[in-house]
């Protein structure tokens, strides 16, 4: 086990170094100055987090009163429980499908193939993932407890009452800590049971997922004061929620705290007992790629992570697609649709949702300043959306670069589909926002046609101008740069400024023509850059 401790502690130190590097602290520097800097960082963030949470607490207090005017404390418990439930149901579902104990490729060779004690490995692996998972719940609990304090402490808050205020946070944190640990350990218990010895208990997912869903639905129903559950059930549920509720309330806390910790210890004991026969090799097989994806995201290799994710998703045989296809440049559309169809996932829709949301709320924005900001944000999203597929194709330069298609047509096929989608989503958002909020349709409705083209064209120009053939041949296409986003903002923003400075029909027509002109210019620049791509 000493070797296991050694490997894991190195990983923990590396993880710590990663987070500290974000605040410019170097773990390897052992100078006194650096130590003092560490103390400063700790003090700074402790104060900063405290102040931030107290700042949000006033809004939180309002929300709690809104949710339950008679008993804001009850609303706080409910909110914490909703988040815990959503996380737990998802966690149990994941644990019943893939090992929660995640091993890297190096772990697989160094640890999982060795005759090490399974229990020790599982326990040793628990700490870091638990901490990472727990912190958001701790912060939420403290924020909610501050919100409760805002409602409970009479009179004006002053520095003299800071300790009382902090006491609320400490109490809630102490209540949530063992509960979260208990649920976390139970998720791991399910995961290690699934891979116990040589069996893979795939059926567990059909037992655990609905059971966790039912349990948390029951707890939420109990927590909801008007649930109308029979007294016995309500009593049972309230007993389960007792430690959590006591964490937010005033009064005796020793009993609930003890109950919380006993629950956590029982869950840890169950996990430890089950992990004696945990199949490390199988767990490593299941999680190796997942770990690679996580690491790639963490260190900023988003494209590589996405590539791994798709590879993991697209397995087995697929019958040839029946999508209609046209010869020549039209086949690019066929490919794009097929690619989008096969990689469609919820996360990928957020970008489109943002585009739509900005346009949806646009009619509500009261002044030119806020509207200009919204247009800028929209243009940045359009730029991102426009080059997604282009970047993918450039990364396949040995295929894409050899297509016997005129550059203009090639780029038109590349940008056409995202442009139309962006326009459709934007206009959909703008029109539905106008109708829903009963506001007049905006000039942006017309302008967005050219503005989207300008933003998309400039983004494409930026990606193509920065592409290098040697890197493209190795499969690496550049991301949209900050300069590219600025170019897109400028190209889309100029017509908008003309429209703001010269309102009325003439201004609108001028701005519209300008947006079309800029769109055409951006497209022309992108086509020219495509012709020079091999000349780096």
């Amino acid at each position: 086990m000493r070797a296991v401790h050694f490997v894991r502690s190195r990983q923990e130190v590396r993880e710590l170094a990663y987070w500290l590097a974000l605040v410019a602290y170097d773990l390897r520097d052992r100078s006194l100055n650096n130590r003092i800097y560490l103390l400063y960082i700790i003090a700074f963030f402790a104060v900063w987090i405290f102040i931030t949470l107290t700042f949000f607490a006033s809004g939180g207090a309002l929300l709690l009163r809104l949710l339950d005017p008679l008993d804001p404390l009850h609303a706080a418990v409910l909110i914490e429980l909703v988040f815990l439930s959503a996380w737990c149901v998802h966690g149990f579902w994941q644990a019943a499908r893939r090992s929660p104990v995640v091993f890297s490729e190096a772990d697989e060779a160094l640890i999982c193939q060795m005759p090490v004690e399974r229990r020790g490995v599982v326990l040793r692996w628990l700490l870091m993932p638990w901490l990472k998972s727990a912190v958001p719940f701790w912060l939420l609990a403290i924020l909610l407890s501050f919100s409760v304090a805002e409602n409970s402490i009479p009179g004006v808050m002053d520095t003299g009452r800071l300790l009382e205020y902090a006491g609320y946070g400490l109490r809630a944190w102490l209540a949530v800590l063992p509960l979260h640990l208990a649920f976390f350990a139970l998720q791991w218990a399910v995961g290690v049971w699934r891979l116990r010895k040589d069996a893979v208990r795939r059926w567990l997912v059909w037992l655990v997922a609905p059971a966790s869903l039912l349990l948390f639905a029951f707890l939420l129903a109990v927590s909801w004061s008007h649930s109308g559950l029979p007294a016995l059930w309500a009593g049972f549920g309230k007993a389960l929620l007792y430690p959590l509720r006591a964490g937010f309330a005033a009064g005796q806390f020793g009993g609930p705290l003890l109950a919380g910790w006993l629950t956590a210890l029982a869950a840890l004991a169950a996990m430890t007992a089950l992990s004696a026969g945990f199949n490390l090799s199988r767990a490593a097989q299941e999680t190796r790629v997942f770990e690679q994806i996580q690491s790639a995201y963490k260190y900023g290799f988003g494209s590589y992570a996405e590539q791994l994710r798709i590879q993991q998703r697209l397995v087995g045989r697929r019958r040839p697609s029946n999508l209609p296809a046209a010869a020549g440049a039209g086949i690019l559309l066929w490919k794009d649709v097929l690619q989008s169809q096969r990689t469609l996932r919820l996360g990928g829709l957020f970008l489109w949702a943002r585009v739509m949301l900005i346009m949806f709320v646009f009619p509500l924005l009261p002044d030119p300043g806020s509207r200009t900001l919204a247009v800028g944000f929209w243009a940045a999203q359009v730029a991102q959306a426009a080059v997604l597929r282009l970047r993918g194709d450039l990364a396949h330069w040995t295929l894409f670069g050899q297509l016997p298609i005129v550059r203009r047509k090639l780029l038109l096929a590349e940008l056409g589909l995202p442009y139309l989608l962006v326009l459709l989503v934007s206009l959909g958002g703008l029109i539905s926002g106008s109708l829903l909020f009963r506001k007049p349709l905006e000039g942006l409705l017309l302008l967005s046609v050219g503005m989207a083209a300008s933003a998309a064209g400039m983004a494409a120009f930026d990606v193509i101008r920065r592409a290098r053939s040697d890197l493209l041949m190795a499969g690496s296409a550049p991301d949209l740069s900050a300069a590219g986003v600025l170019l897109s903002l400028a190209a889309a923003g100029l017509p908008w400024l003309v429209y703001i400075l010269a309102p009325g029909l003439l201004g609108l027509v001028l701005a519209f023509l300008l947006s079309l002109g800029l769109g055409a210019l951006a497209f022309h620049l992108a086509v020219r850059a495509l012709g020079r791509i091999a000349a780096d």
């Binding site: 590539q307 046209a326 490919k335 330069w397 053939s469």
Partner: protein, 215 residues
Amino acid sequence: MSVSLVATQISKKFGSFLALAPVSFELSAGEVAVLTGPNGSGKTTLLSCLAGLTRPSSGSVSVAGFDLYRDEVEVRRRMVFVPDVPRFYLELTAWEHLRFIAMANQADMDFEQRGETLLRQLDLWEARDLFPHHFSRGMRLKLGLALALIRPFEVLLLDEPTSALDAESAAALSAELQRLRSEGAAILLSTHDPGLIQRLGGRGMYIRGGVVEAG
């Protein structure tokens, strides 16, 4: 015999590093040229410059009288390059890749039949509905060859085509290259495989330190 590929004084510099010294040569229809040389000598650089995937620092390339950069589309219709590590779209199966390339090259006539024949020849027919990222390196190389052969061409550039092939597949490839040669295709390939050099015969070109020594 008509000249298919003409390279005139093409060179490539990466910053101050001369990856390829100026070289000129011609390749006639039905001719095979075999490019050999140590690792890092500039074989791939030469081939990617000829294919127009990397622009040379100097010189010009023409295929059937069309200049690579002035008449790019005409050249692309006539010349195809198969890299040593072909890259494929993650979302498309082997068969869909074949369809994509055939249709992009307007070579969709009898596609189904030609595609099946080609994949059977390359022993990929059973794997046609799989995603290439699950292929072995040899299978990926074969699919790269299939994508080249599904479309018409006059000049074929191959970068180490047998580097990951088993002996049987390598022999089948050299037979296929002989057939293409007899049909009038000009072929330039780089290889370290003495067996392939022996089987194909043809003109030898040796490159060392970016300098083509014999042509």
